[in-house]
């Protein structure tokens, strides 16, 4: 089921008329950034990262068979579980490469989601808040908010979009829009496996392109169509054309997509491997991209989770993310930052490996798989000062409930909101900021305390850094 948010709401047009807001036309000539904003509580963003990266294991990884390992009736016998340090047991069969990088990674075992359905769960992971159908058309993705916040930091020479996605189109909710924010803060979603992405332009073609672009501009000027009658999508597309033109003329763009055969072999020729490789290249290029969201699909192992003959099983998926993330951490770790030679690019990048929920612990189900499970699961963090070799939070012996969050609010489970509060903080953004210029006039708070079923704490997970 590949529904996008847009599909959902064309059939609920009546709901959209609520409050009389129409997005079309409302923002055609809006200034690039809404001006009415306020801070709704004190924060002290860390600002320890220049880049943010989210790797989303979409479909949901089984937590008890990975980073919150619990031996149970369903555990296969060939996982080769080894002790990594005093607290951590990790399957060598599943994570041979990450096993050597755990000194840079912190595991958080106290995640809880209110969602049990992919579409809503993956929406939650991209938007940082629960899906509310009435509001959704105006809600931007986290990446778009970051793109908006970083707009002022873009330099003359920056051509790459601030926010780039990898394989967002494979996720259940597709790539989320900019909501009430200007379309220029949109994600550029790349799907390397399907060959969508890098376009290289040679010198002659560039000359022709320049001529043509100039002609396009001249025709635009005289075409006699004024600002009125132009809706938001239209003026948004114009800004896309300007960005596209700059990107096409930048030799750094095709270079970011140049993947050598040894690199492809090292990271893995799959969605997450290529996504992490592109992320590394974009971070090294530092040509405008500051936030990347990679989706690794096909983790939805309801059936045959450990069956070696099926195309996507837990072994395959874990090995893929293992090689991709381990090599990314290694490569970023050895690359010196051009801004501060004492730091590596890993020191400047906050990485979160997340999933929309976990999978049922205990014995396997009737079709040799595990179903969705939201009451306990994990997330991994690395880079930007995150202290590695750590496990925060604890679940019970079966991996069914969170018994200790592992940080400030010991008795509360960690939510996706906290993950993004931490991301915003690492990037130096005030996550309690509210924007008041929304179509519905309802304030958009970067991290909302109104969860779907309860109030949520909007604190960052400071304990990751100390």
């Amino acid at each position: 089921m590949q529904k996008t948010i847009a599909d959902l709401f064309t059939s609920r047009r009546d709901l959209l008329k609520l409050g009389g807001y129409g997005l079309l036309g409302a923002f055609a000539d809006q200034a690039l950034w809404p001006v009415r904003a306020r801070a709704a509580g004190k924060t002290n963003p860390r600002g320890c990262a220049r880049f943010g990266l989210v790797v989303e294991l979409a479909g949901a990884i089984s937590h008890v068979d990975s980073f919150d390992f619990k031996e149970n009736a369903g555990t296969p016998k060939d996982l080769d579980v080894r002790q990594i340090n005093s607290e951590l047991y990790l399957s060598h069969r599943l994570f041979p490469e990450l096993s050597t990088e755990m000194d840079k990674i912190a595991i958080l075992r106290s995640m809880k989601s209110h969602e049990v359905v992919h579409f809503r769960g993956q929406y939650y992971t991209q938007a940082g808040r629960p899906l509310n159908p009435v509001q959704a058309p105006e809600i931007p993705s986290v990446g778009s908010v970051i793109s908006y916040e970083f707009e002022k930091q873009r330099r003359e020479a920056d051509t790459f979009p601030t926010y780039i996605g990898c394989n967002l189109d494979t996720s259940g909710c597709g790539a989320l829009s900019t909501g009430f924010l200007h379309p220029r803060y949109s994600v550029l979603d790349i799907n390397l496996k399907a060959g969508i992405g890098g376009v290289a332009v040679d010198a002659d073609a560039l000359k022709v392109l320049a001529e043509r672009y100039r002609l396009l501009g001249e025709l635009e000027k005289v075409s006699g169509q004024g600002a009125q009658g132009r809706d938001r999508a239209f003026s948004g597309f114009r800004s896309f054309q300007d960005s596209a033109y700059s990107i096409l003329r930048d030799p750094r763009w095709p270079k970011a997509f140049a993947i050598t055969a040894p690199e492809r072999a090292r990271y893995g020729d799959n969605e997450v491997g290529l996504g992490c490789l592109l992320a590394r290249n974009l971070i090294q290029a530092d040509a405008g991209t500051r936030y990347i969201h990679v989706v690794h699909p096909d983790w939805d192992h309801h059936k045959n989770i450990f069956t070696p003959t099926v195309k996507s099983n837990h072994y395959v998926r874990c090995n893929e993310v293992d090689r991709a993330v381990a090599n990314l951490i290694r490569d970023l770790g050895v690359a010196r930052s051009p801004r501060d030679p004492a730091k590596s690019l890993l020191d400047e990048t906050f990485i979160a490996v997340v999933s929309e929920f976990g999978r049922t612990p205990g014995p396997l189900n009737g079709v040799a798989g595990r179903h969705h499970y939201n009451l306990a699961y994990h997330a991994l963090f690395a880079g930007a000062g995150v202290k590695g070799s750590r496990i925060l939070g604890k679940t019970d012996a079966a991996g069914e409930t969170v018994i200790d969050s592992g940080w400030r609010h010991k008795k509360m489970q960690t939510k996706t909101e906290n993950v993004y509060a931490t991301m915003y903080s690492a990037l130096g953004i005030d996550w309690r900021k509210e924007i008041l210029d929304t179509p519905s006039k309802r304030a958009y708070r970067y991290v909302d305390v109104l969860g779907a079923t309860e109030f949520v704490m909007d604190d960052e997970i400071a304990e990751l850094f100390v």
Binding site: S186, G195, I196, E211, L216, L219, F234, A244, Y245
Partner: protein, 125 residues
């Protein structure tokens, strides 16, 4: 249905990915809408699907029009009619005429490209 359309001249991976970025549905799911993006803009500007199409050769539309048009104004009118289904406005004609100099063939290709990349074409067709 988009899927059943005859393949563009240049078939293969590039045309498939081109169509996907513009929201081609796959066989199983509902039609998928894709957000407009810089990627779409990039493709319209530089994908060989477009750059080859606007070439004046192999009996392409541009080549045919160049052969049959009686003069510059006529050529411009026919390119407009063929692409955006309307005649050029009085203010567009001089701009288009200038584009045809010094190289008429090259200029015609540029004009065809500019119309395909114009907001009017992208949003109405």
């Amino acid at each position: 249905m988009v899927m059943e359309m005859p393949d563009p001249k240049l078939a293969g991976a590039e045309s498939t990915s081109f169509m996907r970025i513009f929201g081609q549905s796959n066989r199983d799911d509902m039609p998928k809408k894709t957000l407009p993006s810089a990627l779409q803009a990039m493709l319209l500007m530089q994908s060989s699907l477009v750059t080859e199409r606007v070439r004046a050769r192999d009996n392409s539309r541009v080549e045919q029009l160049l052969k049959t048009a009686t003069n510059d104004t006529d050529l411009i009118q026919r390119i407009y009619l063929a692409t955006v289904s309307r005649k050029p406005t009085a203010s567009e004609i001089p701009v288009a005429k200038k584009a045809l100099e010094p190289d008429r063939l090259h200029g015609a290709e540029n004009l065809q490209w500019a119309l395909i990349n114009s907001p009017e074409f992208i949003f109405s067709y």
